[in-house]
């Protein structure tokens, strides 16, 4: 799957302080690897067809 991935260093630099998080240099490779996985998952999800009218299911009822 070819996905155009963002610049994860810039992402961390912008978002972490917004969330009040200090991400140590030693933790950054792991965080970047996980962001990359998440970005691929989001790209996969973006391809799924969804209707505007579909309600989300944050509290699932079976």
């Amino acid at each position: 799957m070819s996905v155009k991935l963002p610049d994860f260093d810039r992402w961390i630099e912008a978002m972490a302080p917004t969330m009040g998080l200090e991400i140590a240099d030693a933790h950054k490779p792991g965080v970047k690897a996980n962001l990359k996985t998440a970005a691929k998952m989001a790209a996969l999800l973006e391809k799924a067809a969804l209707r505007d009218e579909t309600d989300p299911a944050p509290v699932f009822r079976a």
Binding site: L21, I23, A38, K40, A42, L45, K47, P56, A57, F60
Partner: protein, 463 residues
């Protein structure tokens, strides 16, 4: 009682005073003491409490009280509250918390039925993992081969049952944390419908996905414990008020009259396909069914887990990031940085996927799929071949379990013994919401045919 004795056998023996709950608990404590150093299943023991409860059970039996789980020792994953113990959820961070002041609802339920909790079990930190490895407590080891992973996150619970320390254990399953270790350790497991069992007194992970459930070595044992665990509890907002639906008397109907199909899109490594084929042939299943957008379902569950998990731990990530298990910390830190739009889309997709999956249950009653894409990996292994492509192990062990817990479906995890293969492999028997009975009936049919079995691991079974 021998290490191989199950829930039903023990309850029968204690109820008829052929043995006492005290003798059963003493034997279980002895086996744990002898073997826990090797297996690393338990992190906390409750010997004094367990013996006191055993005496109370023996007294109740003498007073002719009926207790369906009389004297059955069980373990609880260490995210279940146990009065007097700190609920660590596999973390170092929670060790500073005060001890629990009451037992979790499901511990109460089992003990009310006469079962006895003997201790708390090891797990992936904060339930965020499928490996059974833990940076603070060390890995749980697979009793079938001590060099292999148990799977997680309910790692010690699975190891304890597979090693014959106890016949029953409580676990939890957010994305596959009962079904993956049940597969790797060769056990039966039950992840009931989302909203079926109370989560009161359980340390959360992803509130909209967390399911409590159990491990055992037979379908009858799973059903007996499940019957004792049911019951509405308004303290859990996800719980749905339903009548008690006891199923232990209905297992022998097997799959008769049920429409069973094989999921077409979840295949796994060759030995996994071989296992599924054996189960399929045993049940006489010809129908294959295509699941709608199953990869996207898994992706959505993955993103919701990252984001909800990160939100739960946000304060700890800000103040004590270094105290997390590194593998968990980096996933949670990344989860704290995800855009809201991704998560909203994932939750919308969840509704759409649920609708389409429920339509499928108009055509079939049961869907079969493997529990894991591969057999138990080596402890410490970080990558594995998935369809010939080398990929990180950790995020991919839940590939086949995530789509079903995502929409709360009940699943029985069934250990299939393929002739000539040393290790068992797990099959998911997936049913429509609230049809745990159907999932367990099909599991029972496989067990009765001799294809599904969960023996105590060789080397741990009493002569």
């Amino acid at each position: 009682m021998k290490s191989t004795a199950g829930v039903a056998e023990i309850a029968r023996a204690v109820s008829t005073t052929a043995t006492s709950a005290r003798a059963v608990v003493m034997a279980a404590l002895g086996r744990i003491e002898a073997n826990n150093g090797r297996v690393n299943a338990f992190t906390d023991m409750l010997a004094a409490r367990a013996l006191a409860k055993a005496d109370a059970v023996d007294e109740a039996i003498r007073a002719t009280k009926t207790l369906p789980l009389a004297g059955v020792p069980f373990a609880a994953k260490n995210l279940y509250d146990l009065e007097g113990l700190v609920t660590r959820a596999g973390s170092a961070l929670n060790r500073d918390n005060p001890a629990a002041t009451a037992d979790a609802a499901l511990v109460e339920k089992l003990e009310a039925a006469g079962a006895i909790c003997v201790g708390a079990t090891n797990m992936d930190e904060f339930a965020y993992g499928f490996t059974g490895e833990n940076a603070h407590d060390g890995p749980s080891r697979n009793p079938h081969d001590m060099t292999l992973m148990t799977g997680g996150s309910s790692a010690g619970s699975a190891a304890a049952v597979a090693a014959g320390m106890v016949p029953l254990a409580l676990g939890s399953d957010t994305n596959g944390s009962i079904r993956v270790p049940a597969s790797f350790c060769g056990l039966f497991g039950l992840k009931p419908t989302y909203g079926r069992l109370s989560r009161r007194g359980m340390f959360p992970f992803v509130a909209s996905l967390d399911h409590p459930g159990t491990f055992a070595r037979s379908v009858e044992d799973l059903a007996l414990s499940y019957d004792a665990l049911q019951g509405f509890d308004m303290a859990d907002p996800a719980m749905v008020k339903r009548p008690l639906e006891a199923i232990s008397g209905r297992l022998e109907r097997g799959g008769a009259g049920l429409r069973v199909a094989l999921a077409d899109d979840l295949n796994g490594e060759p030995e996994v396909r071989e296992m599924v084929d054996l189960a399929r042939k045993t049940l006489g299943v010809e129908k294959r069914i295509k699941l709608p957008d199953v990869q996207a379902a898994r992706a959505a569950a993955f993103l919701i887990t990252m984001a909800e998990g990160a939100a739960l731990h946000a304060t700890r990530l800000r103040t004590r990031a270094d105290d997390f298990d590194p593998a968990v910390r980096d996933r949670l830190l990344a989860g704290a940085l995800l855009p809201a739009g991704w998560i909203e889309r994932a939750q919308k997709f969840r509704r759409s996927f649920q609708t389409r999956m429920l339509d499928l249950f108009g055509e079939v009653d049961v869907i079969l799929a493997p529990s894991a894409p591969m057999r138990a990996p080596k402890i410490g292994q970080v990558t594995a071949s998935f369809g010939g492509v080398d990929m990180p192990l950790r995020p991919n062990l839940g590939l086949f379990t995530q789509p079903f817990s995502f929409i709360g479906l009940p699943v029985a995890a069934v250990p299939i013994a393929v002739p000539g293969r040393r290790l068992p492999l797990g099959l998911q028997v997936i049913a429509a919401p609230w049809r745990e009975d159907v999932a367990l009936r099909v599991a029972r049919q496989l067990e009765r045919a001799g294809v599904a079995k969960a023996p105590v691991a060789p080397g741990f079974a009493d002569e």
